[in-house]
């Protein structure tokens, strides 16, 4: 009996598709777009497509960071507060920078986010708090800081430098700088996740933390790093948030953590760790934003929108788990068929000359 299990070509094609669920997501986005174009006149309104992309951009940036964290079998609820804090602090600071403003601004946002993310890492790795509790706490802590530093005041668009204030009103080759920033983030994080040892470590750690540490992977260090990266991306999203919305107050960014997690999950990032991709998370963000937009142009109430968003998450997770369950079953079936059929075909293998399959205890 061979140990191999060679599934039929059609099954392996299905499996290849599910390994690259991004293709399915793109198909779904195209489908939703086509249906909406046909059925919802307001969806076709000029500028609506750019608006969807602009709205999806920030979710994408936060979602790819969240995707890394979830892939490492952790979770980060604090991204919303990180985003808000960075939006206010960095947003008000960049107005005073004359020289190389964008570069310094982005560096500051990334650094601030990384520091806040590193704080999560300390709680989780050093103090050994479960990520969900630790980041729930920092969501409050960082959120509270946001209230303290804003003193209840607002940051207005007039205080922003031009490059930031015009982040969605300018167009580079048809897309706003905001969308380009999101694309760069998705591509860079996506490549890191797929093509660097660091990225693969994250997958390994999320897939089986114990095996990863037995292998000598630096699991503790990677935890710090992955939270720092997630924080940095949330910080960057914060700076861009200031540019996109023009005014920032103490509530800026609230609720973002759940949208980002939802996007990642819809994008196929498994909450059990070790699978999914940043690209999938970004596509999840796009799909979620698009559905939100359709509901908005249909003038469906914001509360119904929330319900539908939640439903989308349920459908996505149920779909993925159903798919993986279906895929796991046929392997055993084909194994059995093979076991039954291969025997007459290979009479050249005298089983009797082998030691027993059923091990005999020599006593």
């Amino acid at each position: 009996m061979s140990v191999s299990s060679s599934p039929s070509p059609r099954r392996s094609a299905v499996r290849a598709l599910t390994r690259h669920n991004e293709i399915g997501l793109i198909g779904l986005i195209v489908l939703v777009t086509v249906v909406a174009e046909a059925a919802v006149p307001a969806f076709r309104a000029s500028g609506n497509d750019t608006q969807i992309l602009d709205n999806a951009a920030l979710v994408m940036i936060v979602a790819v960071g969240e995707a890394l964290v979830i892939t490492a079998r952790q979770i980060d609820l604090s991204v919303a507060a990180t985003l808000g804090l960075a939006a206010y602090l960095v947003g008000s600071a960049v107005g005073h920078i004359g020289f190389a403003g964008p570069v310094v601004g982005v560096a500051m946002a990334l650094a601030l986010g990384a520091v806040l993310g590193f704080g999560n890492g300390i709680l989780i790795e050093r103090i050994r708090m479960p990520a969900i509790i630790a980041t729930l706490a920092t969501l409050s802590i960082y959120g509270g800081l946001q209230v303290v530093v804003t003193h209840g005041s607002q940051l207005y668009s007039s205080q922003l430098p031009n490059w930031l204030g015009n982040i969605i009103s300018t167009s580079w080759i048809g897309l706003s700088p905001l969308v380009w920033a999101a694309i760069v983030c998705v591509v860079v994080v996506g490549l890191i996740a797929r093509f660097t040892r660091w990225g693969r470590d994250i997958y390994a750690i999320g897939s089986n933390p114990e095996a990863a540490s037995y292998l000598g992977l630096r699991t503790g260090r990677r935890t710090y790093e992955v939270f720092a990266v997630c924080g940095a991306l949330a910080g960057l999203a914060g700076l861009l948030y200031a540019g996109q919305y023009g005014n920032v107050d103490a509530t800026a960014g609230s609720g973002f953590e759940l949208t980002a997690i939802a996007a990642a999950v819809i994008g196929g990032v498994s909450l059990f760790g070790g699978s999914g991709s940043p690209l999938g998370a970004a596509l999840g963000a796009l799909l979620l934003t698009e559905i939100e937009n359709i509901l908005a142009v249909l003038k469906i109430s914001i509360f119904a929108q929330q319900t539908l968003q939640g439903t989308a998450i349920v459908v996505a997770v149920a779909g993925y788990s159903l798919l993986s369950r279906r895929l796991n079953r046929p392997v055993r079936r084909s194994l059995r068929v093979e076991a039954g059929q291969s025997r007459p075909a290979e009479p050249s293998e005298p089983v009797s000359s082998e030691p027993t399959e059923i091990a005999e205890q020599g006593t």
Partner: protein, 515 residues
């Protein structure tokens, strides 16, 4: 960097056979107040297979973890190539070429075969993983192992045997100088064991120092050159494997003679307790019919993956049934859930006791009394802890749980003691039908004989026992009747005693006598 050179990078020139690569001197290690190792001296030599024997709890696993840097020793010295060495973590040990495969394969289920084999040392060029090289290198490693697996297959879709082979491939491809195999054969089929032994011999001839841990004494004698026996955290004997009698190994391991490993079979079967007619679950097993009487032990033999566990799980209500029916004491029984099955007097000792049979983070008493928790609540709904402890200590006596274990977390018990706790749990529920799935898997000889005696006593007391075991000798010696499964079907029924060859032929499917 090319994957091929990467693969060979860790492998130094083959040292002369017999050179000591790793030497342990007076290694001690305690956990809490328990001394797991009390001064172990051991050497691993190039081109030699060292067998390590010992009962569960003798300290073998602790020793392996120290050798691989997973934990550190409290005292003593580790010499690698004659130089005193200190492992900070498993990476240090790995860099010196010391690798191990563990009882539970340490794989990454969501990643594919290739990435698992090269985890932690993926081939890269200017920081980018070279996937093409990775798959080619993985293919080569698998070919070397003689395994026809697609390197792209996600490991979550593979069984435990394949996962084990992946672990060996991991060590093999890293150019290991020392390879420790911790009970590698427990989950492998004969052909896989054959292949494994072939690989072990090849590696040995290449100058790798191997350490082979197994409970199967025949295997130890077959594959190892030298055998070290451990007991109570110390090595107590070293022998040449070739000419040491099995009985001597047992005596050394256990510290006493085990005159009769298997108890006498129960003799007086009563009424039919379980009747299964044409039971099928698509893709897993088909048309399974058999009966088990009260006071009878019915054995299920077969290869790993023949579908025996699946049948048991369907009877216990874990998995659905597509066709067929089950009668319990003549009444139709449609198991809906394990809870339902337990209520109807069915008990199931799962194959994976730690994952499915126990709550490792709880102590022994709550685990043992779990099946009767509802009865331990008084009229006000308050849980009677003292009563639970009393019941647990009674059960502990019945299953001969090692003294002083009652207050421990189940996760800290040895495999043998864990199995006794699971057994105790079902004793408490007084089942009418007891299904045992590999009850002695990974349990040392001494405990095994105790577990089997308890099972026989239960049968004598009128319980119908269904015994699934991959150890042919065990299932033959214990059963009153024996069924053989192959590829999801029942292919033979024998009255015991039956000779081993007959059963083996049925299980492997070579004899013409098979229906």
């Amino acid at each position: 960097m090319d994957a091929a050179t990467e693969t060979g990078a860790g492998a130094p020139d083959a040292p002369a056979a017999g050179t000591t690569i790793v030497e342990l001197r007076g290694i001690t290690r305690s956990f809490g107040g328990v001394r797991a190792l009390r001064g172990v001296d051991l050497s691993l030599r190039a081109g030699e297979v060292l067998g390590l024997l010992g009962e569960n709890g003798a300290g073998k696993s602790t020793l392996v973890k120290i050798l691989t840097g997973v934990i550190s020793a409290d005292g003593g010295e580790i010499l690698v190539d004659g130089r005193p060495t200190r492992f900070g973590n498993s990476r240090d040990a790995r860099e010196l070429g010391i690798t191990a495969t563990y009882q539970e394969p340490m794989v990454f289920p969501t990643l594919d075969v290739a990435e698992n084999i090269f985890a932690g040392r993926l081939p890269t060029e200017r920081g980018a993983v070279r996937w093409r090289d990775l798959y080619a290198a993985a293919k080569r490693t698998l070919d070397e192992l003689g395994v026809t697996l697609d390197p792209h297959t996600p490991v979550s879709q593979l069984g435990i045997a394949d996962r084990q082979l992946i672990e060996i491939g991991k060590s093999l491809s890293s150019g290991a100088r020392v390879l420790i195999l911790d009970e590698p054969t427990a989950v492998l089929s004969s052909r896989e064991i054959d292949r494994l032994f072939g690989i072990v011999r090849t590696l040995r001839d290449r100058g790798v120092a191997l350490m082979f841990i197994s409970h199967k004494l025949d295997e130890i004698r077959q594959i190892t050159d030298r055998v070290v026996v451990m007991r109570d955290g110390a090595q107590i004997a070293e022998r040449d494997s070739g000419n040491v009698p099995v009985s001597e190994l047992i005596r050394l391991m256990v510290g006493r003679e085990i005159s009769d490993l298997y108890p006498a079979r129960p003799t007086n079967p009563g009424e039919v307790m379980l009747e299964v007619k044409g039971l099928s679950r698509d893709g897993y097993f088909e048309d399974i019919s058999f009966t088990v009487r009260a006071g009878e032990i019915v054995g299920f033999a077969g290869l790993v993956g023949a579908g025996r566990t699946e049948v048991a799980q369907s009877i216990f209500g874990i998995d659905p049934i597509d066709r067929g029916e089950i009668l319990l004491e003549g009444l139709r029984f449609r198991p809906q859930s394990p809870r339902h099955a337990v209520k109807c007097g069915v008990a199931y000792l799962p194959e994976n006791r730690l994952a499915h049979g126990l709550v490792p983070t709880m102590k022994v008493p709550p685990n043992m009394t779990m099946s009767i928790w509802p009865k331990l609540v008084n009229r006000l709904g308050v849980f009677r802890t003292r009563e639970m402890n009393r019941q647990a200590s009674e059960l502990a006596d019945r299953v001969q749980l090692q003294a002083g274990r009652l207050d421990q977390l189940v996760s800290t018990l040895s495999g043998g003691n864990q199995q006794k706790v699971v057994l105790g749990k079902w004793l408490a529920a007084s089942p009418r039908l007891l299904i045992l799935d590999e009850p002695t898997h990974g349990i040392d000889v001494g405990t095994k004989s105790e577990v089997l005696r308890i099972v026989t006593e239960l049968a004598r007391g009128g319980v119908a026992v269904l015994l699934i075991s991959s150890e042919l000798e065990e299932v033959r010696a214990m059963s009153t009747r024996l069924f053989v499964m192959r590829a999801g079907r029942l292919v033979g029924e024998f009255d015991c005693p039956v000779d081993a060859d007959t059963v083996m032929e049925a299980a492997a499917g070579v004899s013409g006598a098979i229906a």
